[in-house]
Amino acid sequence: MQLRRGGNSRCFTPGTCMTYIANRLLSVALTLLLISVITFMVTNILPGDVAMVIMGTQSNPEALAGLRESLGLNDPLIVQYGRWIGGMLTGDWGNSLVFKEAIGPLIANKVAASALIVVMSMTIALAAAIPLGVWAAVHRDKWQDTTASTTALMGVSLPDFFWGIMLILLFARYLGWLPSSGFVHPADDFIAAVRHAFLPSLALGLGLMAHLTRMTRSTMSSILSQEFIRVARAKGLTEHTVIWRYALANAIGPVMTVAGLQVGYLFGSIIVIESLFNFTGMGWLTYQALLNRDIPLIQSTVFVIAAVVMITNLVVDLLYAAIDPRIKLP
């Protein structure tokens, strides 16, 4: 979700200030509602239904009809949607058909696991991408730029799972330094948890890093060509100050925004990477749900992922407003 920036979000009277906050919350609620509608629609276009999944395609038609009736699958879609969203709101997320467990606690567990690798991969990516991108921008069109840009271009061109396979081969099989599969809860054994999360995080982080390097480079090169950079040089400041303070302070906001948007991309990639590494997080859970056509679980995981992505972007927007003096939140 994009939020408007700049002058038009400012308040003119104290009254509108209060309504601004209410508006913002209302907007979040509205988006969540839309997300739920889209999720519900996408999962209801399928030819089969829950009853078929439960009883198998070869089952007795009468029994199937009976189950449909008892599950309420013969009701109009809008009624079914109402029942589903009502359940979601009251905390009753139903049961998974595959895992035979309540969906709510199941997801809560997995979200924490995925949060670990998402945070780790983002940290790895940012820590490498910012210096690399700045370096490339400063030496624009020189060999340093060519090297960094070419490396980054190769990075965005390789599929994540291919990175994953390479990492497994190198670090797990040949070198034997790190485990190639499984998940350990950080509360149980923190070191083991990080070791298990490291390779999947790296596999996710490499592609992301390449993308953010390209972004940092282009943002920095456009900032470096602006007038206030010339003014800074004309003041006699050192190149170090000009680049790492004057320019980077302006680049950090846009880079963070893009990094925030990439959280969406990460939540797509974890489906592949967690499956590859047998890392039992949200991605793995979603994949199991999709493979087994566990419709209640698909609905919940898809909804939760979209909601997390939306809220992350909202938080990044608010952070941007906090660090950039040009954006005033009333």
């Binding site: 889209i38 799972f161 396979i165 797509g268 499956s275 898809v302």
Partner: protein
Amino acid sequence: MKEFFTGKGIVGGGIVLLVLAVALLAPLLIPDTWATQMDMRSRLAGPSTTYLMGTDQLGRDLMFRMLLGAQTSIMIAGTAVLMSLVIGLPLGVISGYFGGWIDNVLMRLVDTLLAFPALLLALTISAVLGPNLTNTIIAIGIAFTPYLARIIRGEALRVAQMPYVEAARAVGTSDTWMIIRHILPNIMPPIIVQATISLAFAILAEAGLSFLGLGTQPPDASWGLMIQASRDYLDVAPWTALVPGAAVAITVLGLNMFGDVLRDVLDPRTK
């Protein structure tokens, strides 16, 4: 056009041409049997003079499978991007050019759709429709539409605010002619660039879907499917993953380089 012939442009353009040639010509020049013939005595054989790139778990020649797989991968990616352009272009242009409530409604919908990771959306649609080649195209096409619609809308909005559009309105040009003569030609260059980059992403998406078993299904052969098949033999025969993986990587790299250079050449704002 001189700017195109930089090192990057030549390499990128060369790769794109090569991959297109393989996708078009391989099915005509290579008999199917070369890629499907199983040689049980040399399963998972390493690269040799008989099998230049080795064989897979059924003893099939990996090089020929890779060359023939090009067509499937390129066709799926190309059709999917075309599909999202066909839906996204009118939506984006209408939204950006006319603005108002249509724009508000469409863009709120698109923004919400963007909260769904593209791969998740594609996987869900493919799983729900039942994974096969056609549904893979539909899934990727739908998943990419909001991105393209967003970008096209932004471009249309930018162009709609250009003085030459206001000038054309002042000389009595109607909305239809305005879109045909002024909006479309001016938004085309960035859209071509975006389509090229989307093509790269679509190839990656197809590979991801097939890798998870929710994309192309055998007997259709695609690169993603080949990587999936290699998963269990990584230890003993890493080339089974490397061959199709390299094919994906080189194609996507070529498209990205081509897209980058196109952007430099076509998009005046980066100059």
